[in-house]
């Protein structure tokens, strides 16, 4: 059963009479509860693809449907976790989540329900202890947790993560990956995540979408990751299926679609 349908999507930008093709004929079907990673070298249009799904940019041709309804603009049912967290620095952690909750549930929930819902989401990312802190007072990993809480608090149909752990150190990243796996297990969320980290892609996803190099990037290959959940990074380190998936992604990225620095 297709939940999110991406059909023959092209995207080009026109700037000063010059047309630059970014994505060419991208099609992908995603089922409910699936976790998809999009991986590729920089400049391959991964972020553009995510922005198209989010509705932040418009498709040039083709179409994207979520539950059979055409995506034609951004909305809280497709919440985005941004790479640089994008928390509003003048609001506390609580207020940042509240901004989303007040807008999405302002009519349907009472004040007490909204408060409960905010705290529930902060608990989910283990950030309720810092609810009155401002973003400048917490670490990068904590900011990203709050960013995830804010996105989850919109109760999205699909969660879009734009290199969510890219700016974090390796240990913090591992912690957050575990947190995301745990949350996904509990909520059964559908997720699309952009990454450039091969291990992250294999560890977290059900399928890995590998993009060819731009311009006019397309989906090069889609790899199934047939690993049981819950997944444990230590056990997987020597798991044969894990290693095979990892090798397949590495081969795609470094043999067949070697990154060419634009001259």
């Amino acid at each position: 059963m297709t939940y999110l349908k991406i059909e023959n999507v092209d995207k080009h930008f026109d700037r000063g009479g010059v047309r630059s093709e970014v994505l060419k004929d991208v099609s992908l079907d995603i089922a409910q509860g699936e976790v998809i990673s999009i991986i590729g070298h920089s400049g391959c249009g991964k972020s553009t693809l995510l922005n198209l799904i989010a509705g932040l940019t418009e498709v040039s041709s083709g179409g994207i449907q979520l539950e059979g309804r055409e995506v034609n603009g951004p909305g809280p049912e497709r919440a985005v976790v941004f790479q640089n967290h994008s928390l509003l620095p003048w609001l506390t952690v609580y207020e940042n989540v509240n901004l989303a909750v007040a807008k999405v549930f302002g009519r349907s929930k009472t004040g007490a329900e909204r408060h409960h819902w905010i705290m529930q989401n902060l608990d989910l990312v283990q950030m309720s202890h810092a609810k009155d802190k401002r973003p400048t007072e917490i670490s990068g990993g904590m900011k990203q947790r709050v960013g995830i809480a804010r996105a989850l608090a919109m109760q999205p149909k699909i969660l879009l993560l734009d290199e969510p752990f890219g700016a974090l150190d390796a240990l913090t990243r591992a912690h957050l990956q575990d947190a995301v796996m745990d949350i996904q297990k509990r909520l059964g969320s559908t997720m699309i995540m952009i990454t450039h980290d091969v291990d992250e892609a294999v560890l977290l996803s059900d399928r890995i979408v590998m993009m060819s190099n731009g311009p006019s990037a397309r989906i090069g290959e889609v790899l199934d990751v047939p690993l049981e959940r819950p997944r444990n990074r230590i056990e997987l380190a020597s798991d044969r299926t894990y290693l095979k998936c990892r090798e397949a992604v590495l081969k795609f990225l470094y043999e067949r679609h070697r990154f060419v620095e634009a001259g």
Binding site: A54, L88, M154
Partner: protein
């Protein structure tokens, strides 16, 4: 092997704790308590200007105590204008009032003129900042108007309003609106794309975006503009009142000059300087309070 384990589990004999002498570390020098620190901080900031001021007054006294001096020495100012200094709020009727009351009337005009400038400057600045073409079209014009001296507007506004009171307020407004407007526009232009994306995903409407994202995000810029603006209004009010008359502090100086009361002028200058300083600090303190957390990203 087993022996080792056994020994670990049940120690046969309680080991005698190693004897060690307790070495008393020298007590750390008693730290200054917090109020002592505050006091030291205040002293470090207050004493130097007081010393410099005393020195300045002393030199001034020496320079102006010669019989033919054209300006009064501090001691003469004290004897001639003592009442103005220590009683700012007397009111003898017929416009003979203390400098505190005069400053208050001037401040009232500034409050109206600058208040208007702040509201309109922020509104128009926010509109212009959102459109690259409005910015390109209007910015050069604002940059030119900004440099017109306050008093140059006065004849025009007198002609338009036919009355001194609104003209003075208009001069304040037109002088202080530009920095507010330009800074707000720049602040709005510089709102990170991420905040726009957050707003779009949440589907905030124009009004919600204005109050929840735009104003707080641009607040550091807006307050820079307001701070420049309040300084300019205070400059403009004194000049405008000299020409339009009334009971303000500016007119007082002009009046004192016409009746050769130089000591009064000097006291008035001190008042103007102090009030301007307080206004500046006030706006900057409000700005620091409102924008806490915003400027550091």
């Amino acid at each position: 092997m087993t022996a080792t384990i056994q020994r670990l589990v049940t120690p046969a004999t309680p080991t005698v704790p190693a004897k060690a002498d307790v070495i008393a570390l020298p007590k750390p020098a008693s730290r200054p308590s917090s109020w002592q620190k505050t006091l030291g901080h205040v002293a470090a900031n207050v004493i130097p200007p007081l010393v410099v001021m005393a020195l300045g007054l002393f030199i001034w006294e020496i320079l102006c105590s010669t019989p033919g001096a054209s300006l009064p020495a501090p001691s003469r100012i004290w004897t001639e204008a003592a009442e103005l200094i220590y009683s700012p709020f007397f009111d003898y009727g017929q416009g003979d009032i203390g400098l505190g009351l005069r400053v208050l009337t001037s401040l009232q005009r500034v409050a109206i003129g600058f208040g208007l400038a702040a509201v309109i400057g922020v509104m128009v600045g926010a509109l212009i900042g959102q459109s690259i073409w409005a910015m390109r079209g209007l910015d050069p014009i604002f940059q030119i108007l900004r440099t017109v001296p306050p008093l140059a507007w006065l004849p025009l506004s007198l002609a338009a309003f036919m009355d001194a009171a609104p003209s003075a307020i208009f001069v304040i407004f037109i002088t202080s609106v530009w920095p507010v407007l330009i800074n707000t526009a720049v602040g709005v232009r510089n709102i990170p794309q991420d905040y726009h994306n957050v707003a779009r995903i949440l589907q905030l409407n124009q009004l919600e975006f204005f109050f929840k994202i735009m104003i707080p995000a641009a607040a550091p810029y807006i307050f820079t503009g307001l701070r420049i603006g309040i300084g300019l209004s205070w400059l403009a009010i004194v000049a405008a009142e000299m020409l339009t008359g009334g009971v303000g502090i500016g007119f007082f100086i002009w009046d004192a000059w016409n009746s050769s009361r130089l000591s009064d002028i000097i006291v008035a200058l001190a008042y103007i300087g102090l009030v301007g300083f307080i206004l500046d600090k006030l706006v900057s303190a409000i700005g620091a309070f409102v924008t806490r957390g915003t400027s550091a990203n």
